[in-house]
Symmetry: C4
Subunit: 280 residues, 4 copies
C-alpha cells in the first residue's frame, strides 16, 4: 500500500500551454441517466468541465435533455432512442477522447444490451461507475473486456462484483486480484479510497472527509476521471489525479459546511484544488 | 414548557465517523407536489440534503420531474401514476429510512386515497406537513394511525385539525392533548414554535425570526425533520434538532437580508448552523 | 414636484412583529407571460418574494409552468386555459391581497378579453404594467375602471396611452391629468421616475442609475409594487416605497457591475435596501 | 500587426447618459441552437445582457424554449417552425439593432436554407459564428454577402472556410485577404485572437488565457460582439471591444479557478471588466 500525497500528484498532471485550444483539452462523453435519475449526469458533466475538459457531451434518454440543458449550458446533449432509458443503437463513440458510463443508467434489459455493445465495441479510455458496475456484476463474461478501463465501485457495488467479503482487508485483496486479472484500474471508494492497478500496486488516497458520503459525490468522481482521461492522461494518472483532487475538493467544500456539504459543493470546489496544488 | 437552547441540541445529534458511507446517513423520500406546486418538494429535498442525508428521493406526479431534476441534481425522482396529482398505487416504501409527506400535494380525492393508504401501510419514521395535515383534518378516523409520526401544522392548519381555539394558550393545551392522545409529536409552527411530545412535555423553540414567515419556510422544516429521522434519530430528537436548526438558519439568512429573506436562503444557511453549534 | 428621499420612505413602511405569520405578509398574484415571454413573470415573482410577500403565485399560460417552477421554488403556479396565451376564464381573484398584471402577456384577442374581464371584476389593489398598459391604450373606454390602480408605463408605453408628447414637461403634465382624471397612480418610468397621484401631487424619485435600463428591470418594479400592496400598504405608499427601493437596489447592484448589471442583479439587491434604509 | 492594449479600448466605447432607456442600449437577436445544443444560445444571450444590451431575444427551434426561459429570465424567446432545427421562414429581422447567428445551429439542409435566406435579406449589423461559419464554408457563393459582417472562426473553422494552412503566418495572411476581399471583419480566435479588418489592418489581442479554451467560450464572444453592435458601435469598434473584454473577463474568471474555469464564469466576469477599464 502506498499513501498518496500532494507531491505525488503534481508531476502526474499534464501541462498545457498558451497555444492549446479546446480540442487539446479533450472531448468527453458522459453516458448515463434514466427517467428521474438525470442528476447524476448533470453532476458528472459539470465535474468534467471543472477539471478542464474542452468539450463535454452527455448521452442520455430523451427525458434528460431539458434538465441538462437548463443546468449545464456548456455541455451538449445527445439522446438515445429510448425516451426513459438508454438503449441501442450505440452513438458514434470514435469522436470522443474518453467516455464515462453508468451513473443513473439503470440495469434494465435494453440498457444492459447497450452496455454490452459498448464494452464490445469501444476500445478507448473509459470509466465505468454505478449501474455500469451493477450490470457487470450480473455478467462476469464481460470482465475480459475491462482491460485498460477504470472502475469506481463503492463498497456495496464492489461486493456485488466480487462477492461478499468478511472484512476490509479481504476486500482490498480481492480488489487487487480483480485489477490484475482483468488488466483494469479499480477504485474502491470509501473513507480512504484505494486504487488498485493492473500491475498489483495499490494506492491509498489521503484526501477526503466523511462529509463526502452524500448522494452524487461518486458521480462527481466519475466526471473527474473521465475529464483527465480525455485530456490524454494515462488511466493510472487520470485516476490518481481525480481521486486525489476529488477528496481535496470535498475537504475544501466541507470546511465551511460540515455535514451540510452536497455534491454540487464538491464540484464548485474543484477549481480551488488546482490553485492549491499549484497545477497550472 | 421548556425553552430549548443550543446546549440542549448538541447532545441530541448523532456523530458520524470517518467510516460512514452515504447509506449510514439514510435514504429519505419526500412525497408531495402537484401541478404548479412542485417548489415545496424542491425546497424539502434541498433541505434534507443540507442536513446531511445520504440519499434523497422525491415522489411526485409526473409533471414535477423536470423542475426537480433541473433544480436538485443530487435528488432522484420517482413518479406517481397521476400526471398532475399523486395517486395510488403506493411506491415501495420499505426502501427508505424516513418519509416526509404533504407539501404541495393538494387535497383531492385521488391524493386522499393515496394518503390513507400510506398511513395504513407505512410504519417507519415520517413527518406529515401541509396538505397531509389538511387531509387528516377531514378524517379524524385516521388519527389513530399517527403514533410515532411527526406533524408540523402552522396555526391555521392546526385549527383545521383540532377546531377553533380562542387563544394561544388553548391552542397549546390542545396541541399537548393531541400529542398525548395519538402518541405523535406535534410541532405548532409560529413565532416560537412549540413541540408537543407524546409524554406531555412541551418544548418551546428559542431560535427564529419574523422574517421566516415566507412561503416555503415550512417545507424546509419538513425536509430537515425528515433528514434527521432518516439518519436514525428518534422522532423526538429529529424534531427538536430540526426545529432549532431551522430557526437558526433563518436567523443567519436574515442577518443580511431582513424582510428580503426567502426560503431558499434558509436552506443555504443550514450548513452554517452545524458549524456554529459545533455539530461535527 | 417633490423629490423623494430616504427620510420620506421610512415612515411609509409597515412594521411587522414577531407574531406575524406568512398570511400577515399578504398573498399576491402575478398575472402575465406568454410563449417565450415567461421571464417577466419569473422576475416579478422573485421581486415580490424579496420585498417580503408571504405567498406569491403566478397565473400564466400552461407553457410557463416548468420555467417558473424550475426558477422560483417559493412561488406557486396556476395556469390559464390557453397553453401559450392567457385567456378566459378568470381565476378566483378574491383569494389574493394584491395582483400584478401585464408583463410578457401579449396583446392578442383572447388576452384582451381576459384583461377586460379582470378590470371589470377585480376591485382590489393592483398594479398594471407592460402589455396591460398596451391593452389599455387600445381601449380608452377602460380608463374609468382604473380608480385606485397603479400603472407603470415607460415613456413609449405612456405615449401609447395618452398620445405623443412634444417634450418631457408635456409628458409630466399629461401624467398628472391622467392620474387625476381616472383616480389612479401613474409611475412614469425613466431616468428619474415620476409618481403622479390622484390628488395631483407628483413625486420625483431620487434613486436609480442609467445601468437599470435593461430588459426585465420594469418587471422587477411591478413585482415590488405588488408585494407592498399585498402587505396592506395604501397604493400611494406601496408605489412610493417600491419605486424608491427599486432604484436603490439598482444602485447597489450596479456598484460592482456598471453596465454589466442585469435585472436579476436588481432582484438580488432588494434585501440590502431594507438593511440600508433601516426598515426592519 | 497592431497589439491592442487597454488604452486603445477606452475611447472606442460609447458613453450612455442618465437619460438613456433600454431602447438606447439596443435590441439584439441571437439565432442558433438545435436539439441538445441550446446551451450556446443561453451563453450568448447572457453575455449580451452582461455587456449592456437593453433587450435580448433568442430565435431557436421550439425545443429550446424551456431551457432558455429557465436559465435567462431577462431574455425573450421566439421559435422557428422546426421543433429541433431552425428552418424557414425568417422572423421579422428589422426589429433588431444587431443579430448574432450560428452557435449550436447545426448544418442540416433546412438550417442551410434559413441561413442563406438570412444572408440574402438582412443588411444590418451581424456576427456569424460556429455553424454559421461551417455553413459558409460549404458555399463560397455566399461570401459576397458578408460585407460589413463580423465572422469569428476558431482555427479549425477558419481552415474549413479558406482551406488548409501550413502555418500560422499563412493563416493570418489568408485571414487578411478574406477580410479585404469580402469587406468583412474576421476574428481568428486562438491564443492571441487576431482581428482582420476590411482595410487590411490586423489587430492582435493582448488579453486572454489558455484557461479560456473551454466549451462555450466562443459563444460568449459572439454574444458580446452582438451586444456592442446592437448598442450602435461600428463593426470594427464592437469587435475590438468585445474581443478585448472577452479576454479580460477570462483572465478575471481564471484568476481563482485556473483550469477549472468554464464559460459561465467568463460571462459572470464581464461586468468587472467595465469597472476595471473604467468604462462607465
Amino acid at each position: 500500500f502506498y499513501y498518496l500525497n500532494a507531491g505525488d500528484i503534481r508531476p502526474l498532471h499534464r501541462r498545457f500551454d498558451r497555444f492549446s485550444h479546446k480540442g487539446t483539452y479533450g472531448k468527453v462523453l458522459m453516458i448515463g441517466g434514466s427517467f428521474g435519475k438525470m442528476g447524476a449526469v448533470i453532476l458528472g458533466c459539470k465535474a468534467a468541465l471543472r477539471c478542464g475538459s474542452g468539450l463535454v457531451s452527455a448521452f442520455v434518454p430523451a427525458c434528460g435533455v431539458v434538465p441538462i440543458q437548463s443546468s449545464v449550458p456548456e455541455a451538449m446533449v445527445e439522446t438515445s432512442m429510448g425516451s426513459e432509458f438508454i438503449s441501442l443503437p450505440l452513438p458514434d463513440l470514435g469522436r470522443f477522447t474518453a467516455i464515462g458510463i453508468g451513473p443513473g443508467m439503470g440495469v434494465g434489459k435494453v440498457t444492459r444490451e447497450f452496455f454490452e455493445a459498448f464494452l464490445n465495441s469501444y476500445r478507448g479510455p473509459a470509466v465505468i461507475d454505478a449501474d455500469g458496475i451493477n450490470l457487470l456484476s450480473g455478467d462476469p463474461g464481460l470482465f475480459s473486456l475491462l482491460e485498460g478501463k477504470v472502475l469506481t465501485p463503492h463498497l456495496i457495488e464492489f461486493e456485488r462484483l466480487v462477492g461478499k467479503c468478511s472484512n476490509h482487508l479481504v476486500r482490498l485483496e480481492k480488489a487487487k486480484e480483480f485489477a490484475v486479472n482483468f488488466g483494469c484500474i479499480l477504485v474502491l471508494k470509501g473513507a480512504n479510497s484505494v486504487i488498485s492497478l493492473p500491475d498489483g500496486r495499490q494506492l491509498v488516497n489521503s484526501t477526503g472527509t466523511k462529509y463526502m458520503a452524500t448522494g452524487g459525490s461518486g458521480d462527481v468522481l466519475t466526471g473527474m476521471i473521465c475529464s483527465f482521461l480525455g485530456q490524454g492522461y494515462s488511466p493510472e494518472d487520470a485516476t490518481t489525479c481525480a481521486v486525489f483532487h476529488h477528496g481535496l475538493a470535498g475537504e475544501l467544500a466541507a470546511m465551511s459546511r460540515w455535514r451540510g456539504t452536497i455534491a454540487s459543493d464538491i464540484v464548485e470546489s474543484i477549481p480551488q484544488t488546482f490553485v492549491k496544488l499549484g497545477i497550472s
